[in-house]
């Protein structure tokens, strides 16, 4: 491993840090989902770097992991967006008193 800074390794770390910060500080559920996805992208970037560091061809195993991860993250996020829309529909019916 080189001691030279690796730009994409730094980018992965930045994505993870920023995603974590957003997850803690954001209140809006949609913004939180975005922050979680940014964190996830940092994790995916880490995995891709690990794959890249295999001498010769890129390692397909982390690639498969990332592909799986992307699909899972996106379907969960789509479900989250449906939740957010439902919350808004309910909030618009003013008579509703949830136990928030």
């Amino acid at each position: 491993m080189s001691i030279m800074p690796e730009p994409f390794a730094l980018a992965a770390a930045a994505l993870i840090a920023v995603g974590f910060y957003g997850f803690i500080t954001q209140q809006h559920p949609l913004r939180r989902l975005l922050a979680i996805n940014i964190f996830g992208n940092g994790v995916f970037m880490t995995l891709i770097l690990v794959a890249y560091w295999l001498p010769g061809d890129a390692d397909p195993v982390p690639h498969a992991m990332v592909l799986t991860g992307i699909v899972i993250a996106v379907s969960a996020t789509a479900f989250g967006l449906a939740l957010i829309r439902r919350r808004i529909l309910d909030a618009n019916r003013k008579q509703d008193h949830g136990d928030d």
Partner: protein, 312 residues
Amino acid sequence: MMVFDSLLALIIAALAWRCVTVRDLFQAIVTFIVLGLMLALSWTRLDAPDLALAEAGIGAGLLGVLLLSTWRVVRDAGPDQGEGPPPSPWVRTAAAVGSIALGTAFAVVLHTVEVDSDRAGGLALESLGEAGVEQPVTAVLLNFRSYDTLLELGVLLMALIGAVLLRSPLIHRPAAEDTGTESPLLPVLVTVFTPLVLLMGTFLVWAGAHSPGGAFQGGAVLAGAGVMLVLGGRLGGDAQVSLLLRALLILGVSVFTVIGLLLMPLEGAFMAYPEGLVYPLMVTIEFSLALSIGLTLLLLFTGTNGLRGAPA
């Protein structure tokens, strides 16, 4: 190339920062989409064109479209949607300190890690001959670690059932009734693009056996074609669900499981395939997966469990 990579990494970090900190929700979403594009670009630099395709199609593309549409709904609902109070300065400071520590730790670890080059992936590359497909990632997804892929299809199905339970679909009126979009060009775009997108999706699925692409990327592009039709007002979500549609939704997971279970007594292991049949089985599985994935992603976009055609 180093300069290119550094600039790209810098742009990625800056976009992420802006996406998280900008006030306006719309800007955050737009930034997120551009961030996805840049990630896809950076992954091509890291020898992962498969993932660049997936990120461009699913992570930035489909998710971006869904985010923009949901943003409309959020905005129409009014400015404040039951958000909690903003976090106190203490929380912010703690979060900042924590995230800097976390980021530094990751950066250090990623720069000092001694990677093991004798690994499963190397073995996968050596065993490609037995996998039935030449493309390493497809071989891992559909053969060496096919069980993961099968379970992942379950996740897609669950997310869809969850979205259906919520009854909060995205309903696009016919384009002609949408002020500002009654452009004569929208139907042209839809008419020209949809078949091309379908073609591209099919191509990517088929190409998955020997070049970057595969069921997920192809499926996402197929879903893109459906989303194009929805946005063009030709197709809409529907509460009524036909048996055929449901059958197509579970086609991938069923084909995968049933083939695995039927061959289990013969091969001695679940999801083991007999030598001569590997390639045809792979292709069958890949196409049924792509069809189910595409439809599921499309329905996750409309937020319904059914579809119906609408006059243009």
